[in-house]
């Protein structure tokens, strides 16, 4: 029996559609690429179960206004990570910066308490939350949590949807509204610069930890106001100071469980 033209075309159509879709689906599932090797810290790297930071604001005051106005920690971080210096406040990018008590802890604002606390500068940065809303909302896993608690950013996967910025209750994330490169005074070739249209933030110097070094801000702080260590290790320096001094974290009521503590 001769096959009808119509039937032949139908079969041809079904055949080619299914070939293409099977190939496409297979491609999609295998993601058509070699699976990335899981990051293994090199020898000599600093390791922890959960990295955290303690900021002793009293030491900032003791270091004097000169130190506070030209904070070496902020400068070290921003020059290490090629953070541009964009004068327009609306478009600025910052990984670590200083703000007042009432802005850092708006829910604790109180005129009488402020009489004492308003003079302290509070260094603000990504809190590397144990329960990060930014990671929860990211549609591409461009921002993700490492097993040692560091919240990472993949600048090459980020689609720039800025859902993470809406999700972060700490205003820790910056977006590259324009090309940041013209605003970098001296490029550090050891760290990537960014393209317009991606989000960035503090990464707890994961690259320095791999080299066995402390984060740039911690190393640069002349007042020794920044302490960095394993929050899960009861003998770590950060745990020692938390045992002795009164510490607060930002917006704990939101359940994000920040890894940055402020001792007053």
């Amino acid at each position: 029996m001769a096959i009808k033209r119509r039937t032949f075309l139908k079969l041809l159509g079904i055949g080619s559609i299914s070939t293409v879709s099977v190939a496409g689906l297979g491609n999609l599932l295998s993601q058509a690429e070699v699976k990335a090797v899981e990051h293994k810290a090199p020898e000599g790297a600093l390791k922890a179960q959960r990295w955290g930071m303690v900021i002793d604001v009293k030491k900032c005051i003791e270091a004097g206004s000169d130190c506070m106005n030209n904070c070496p920690a902020i400068q070290a971080c921003h020059s290490t990570h090629n953070v541009p210096n964009i004068p327009d406040k609306k478009k600025e990018i910052k990984w670590i910066w200083s703000d007042s008590f009432e802005h850092a802890f708006p829910e604790l604002r109180d005129e009488r308490v402020m009489e004492h606390l308003s003079k302290f500068p509070f260094l603000l940065l990504c809190n590397h939350c144990d329960n990060p809303p930014c990671v929860r909302v990211c549609p591409t896993k461009a921002t993700f949590k490492r097993s040692d608690g560091i919240i990472m950013m993949d600048f090459h996967r980020c689609i720039g949807c800025r859902f993470c910025m809406a999700g972060c209750p700490y205003g820790s994330r910056s977006f590259n509204w324009i090309d940041p490169r013209p605003y970098i005074s001296k490029v550090n070739p050891e760290f990537p610069t960014r393209t317009p249209g991606v989000v960035e933030k503090c990464l707890f110097c994961y690259q320095r930890l791999d080299e066995g070094k402390l984060p740039a801000c911690v190393e640069a702080c002349t007042a020794k106001a920044l302490l960095f260590g394993d929050l899960n290790d009861p003998n770590s320096e950060v745990r020692q100071i938390l045992k002795e001094r009164f510490a607060i974290r930002r917006k704990v009521e939101l359940g994000t469980n920040p890894s940055v503590y402020y001792v007053i």
């Binding site: 999609l28 993601q31 406040k89 609306k90 478009k91 600025e92 990018i93 703000d99 009432e102 802005h103 850092a104 708006p106 829910e107 604002r109 809303p133 929860r136 909302v137 990211c138 549609p139 591409t140 896993k141 461009a142 996967r157 980020c158 689609i159 720039g160 949807c161 800025r162 859902f163 910025m165 809406a166 999700g167 972060c168 209750p169 700490y170 205003g171 910056s174 977006f175 590259n176 509204w177 324009i178 090309d179 393209t195 317009p196 249209g197 991606v198 989000v199 917006k251 939101l254 359940g255 994000t256």
Partner: protein
Amino acid sequence: MLEYALKGTKKYWLWVFFLAILILIGFSFYYQQLEVGLGITGMSRDVSWAFYIANFTFLVGIAASAVTIVLPYYWHNHKVYGKMTLVGEFLAVAAITMCLLFVVIDMGQPMRVFNVIRYPTPNSILFYDVIVLNGYLILNLICAWTVLHSYYKGVAYPSWLKPVIFLAIMWAPLIHIVTAFIYQGLPGRHYWLTAIMAPKFLASAFCSGPALLVILASLLKKVANFDIGDKAFETLGKTVTYFYLVFIGFYLFEVFTVFYSNIPGHKAPFQYLFIGFEGHAEWVPFMWTAVVLALIALILLINPATRKKETTLVLACLAVFFSAYIEKGIGLITGGFTPNAFETVTPYRPTFPEAMITLGVWATGFLVLTILYKLVLEVERRKNLAVKLQKN
């Protein structure tokens, strides 16, 4: 059928040409945005979503509202909506097209859009939004196109379409619920962190969508001699009225909770939007315009005489549409980001390029709508002609 869109009167081509110009202007500004980055908009580190996402949210509502026509017609066999159904479904298609465009133009790296599919992330609400929006677009295209084509052929629509139509009906509220979930699950954004967000979204969608349909139907009656019938206008008027009342109610429930509980963080966005906050009152005139429009709409809608008269109904619907657009299109997003995480205000105002790109997207939506409506009108005209010829 599509060839019908290529034959039209001078007026038709003038309108298409006008839209094409707006699209070209929008596209030229978008090209600039691709070159420079989203920095050409008024968005900032603190207000990181704004006009684009606001328009997206509003239009998801318009798209979902097709269900207020399709459900009575197909589920309850409400014959009055016979002519209205295709108009509603094609409006949904145009609205979703605009939604998808707004999402893409809001992205910092639009070339990477397929990363959402390449790295599926079910813990992100955007993952579900991509599924429901694209699914809804396809469902509505299938339903409306098949029904129109069957009508064109003079046959009943095929039986396999019925389950697809029912799926589209159940799918419609989902797209707006998922869109509300983008906002209402974020810690630290007080204006959004409320369980009533999704119901409020649905209520405002189900009044602003039918309101737009009343306006469009009235226009079609004037310029194209396509009458959906007085009964259809009357029923649409009732739909707009009830859902508008529900929406106003939901908004006031929110106001009660916020101000009676007296929690500063929750009060701040309302204060910013309606009376100003720490010396900033950028959007206060807009919000009060919405309130005045709402009052006008309520008076015209609740009074049966003005609701049943087409001219006053159209006026009421314009008031509903624009008040909903201000509330969802401006208040919702700026209110969510202002005051910011530090309880300070970074004012947001859309820039000229941002407004032109937005206008370009709306023009694209209207072009899609024009072409689809042209097909409906042409098929209808030919049917009437055939009937007339047969009678002679």
